[in-house]
Symmetry: C2
Subunit: 191 residues, 2 copies
DNA sequence: GTCTATAGAGAGATAGAC
DNA sequence: GTCTATCTCTCTATAGAC
């Protein structure tokens, strides 16, 4: 049910997705959805909460290890790329949320806070981080670059490749992208 | 009229945008829109055609100059960043189109062709390009990185910055991003 | 060109049986 | 839990006056 919603909301957007289609994919009728979620918006919220929760858990795992700081950051970037590569619906959902005017994304706002807190706790607040000689770059800019190029690649690129082969993106391309992201982060963080 | 459509389609998406709102912004009534565009989809197509046409013209200007190849490529990247920075609605529209499942973006398909042809003609087909010692990287990947990180930054970042200041993105941040994109392109193209 | 008025379709939400 | 049936609303599209 959340699976069906995740896929359809991602591919069509909230407004264009019909509850009928979600129900059909699950194998029940539209009215039966109400038994689980009182309305469309709450179903969407549940989809968003689940996928972002999963991502959050994965990133926390990478960031909270015992390894030194640069290795932990790189592990988080790798985890991110791998996670999105395996779950392209997240890429599409983030693209759509990013496209919406800021005042039109109340659902996402709650979650972004959790991610900034995560980075704050495991990176920015750490004494090792303060000792790093950083390039004079806004960390939000770094995050935006990594997130933006990854989601765009995962969502848009398969269709642009010759041969008509779509999802999922090839392993080689994903690995190349991961390398590229690591390079960007290393340079921006100045180590 | 195209201005109003561009902004609203960008911020809300095609489905969620009401013709009523577009008409209101123009200062006429909904039914009067029909005099110019027979239906909603054609208005959207016209919006897309205009903004992508403008971008195409700007990029062609940058790519068709007499300068040597690396300089022309860099000019195109700079033109791209500057163009999107001044027209954030394009960023949002591209984000939405990228998010849509491939088979659900007939409108964009026509235009992407024009851009790949542009690159083909002014870059890939040039003998100078063939002589370059390139990193073994897919040019589509390069384009995806530049486009994706820029549109995401322009659309999403203003809201993430402290102070509640939204659009447009500050000049300093845009300039920093442009530098970053140039660096990525230079490295990926191997010069 | 722009309007008012209305038709018509589609979709979410609700009621209540089984 | 899942269904059928229906209500209600919103929005696009159309007709036709000015």
């Amino acid at each position: 049910m959340l699976d069906a919603g995740e896929e359809l909301f991602a591919e069509r957007g909230f407004e264009a997705t019909r509850l009928e289609d979600i129900a059909l994919r699950v194998g029940i009728r539209r009215a039966s959805l109400v038994y689980y979620y009182p309305d469309k918006r709450r179903l969407y919220d549940a989809v968003l909460a689940r996928v972002l929760g999963d991502l959050h858990a994965r990133l926390e795992e990478a960031l909270a290890s015992e390894a030194p700081l640069p290795a932990r950051i790189e592990a988080a970037v790798s985890a991110w790329v791998e996670f999105v590569g395996r779950r392209p619906a997240l890429a599409r959902i983030l693209l759509r949320e990013a496209a919406a005017a800021p005042q039109r994304r109340p659902a996402l706002a709650v979650h972004t806070q959790a991610f900034t807190a995560l980075v704050q706790r495991h990176v920015l607040d750490r004494p090792e981080f303060r000792r790093e000689r950083l390039a004079p770059i806004d960390p939000v800019h770094v995050a935006s670059t990594v997130v933006g190029s990854t989601v765009f690649l995962v969502a848009a690129m398969p269709a642009l490749l010759p041969g008509g082969r779509h999802e999922p993106l090839g392993k080689a391309q994903l690995a190349a992208h991961e390398e590229e992201m690591l390079r960007v982060v290393r340079r921006l963080l100045g180590y």
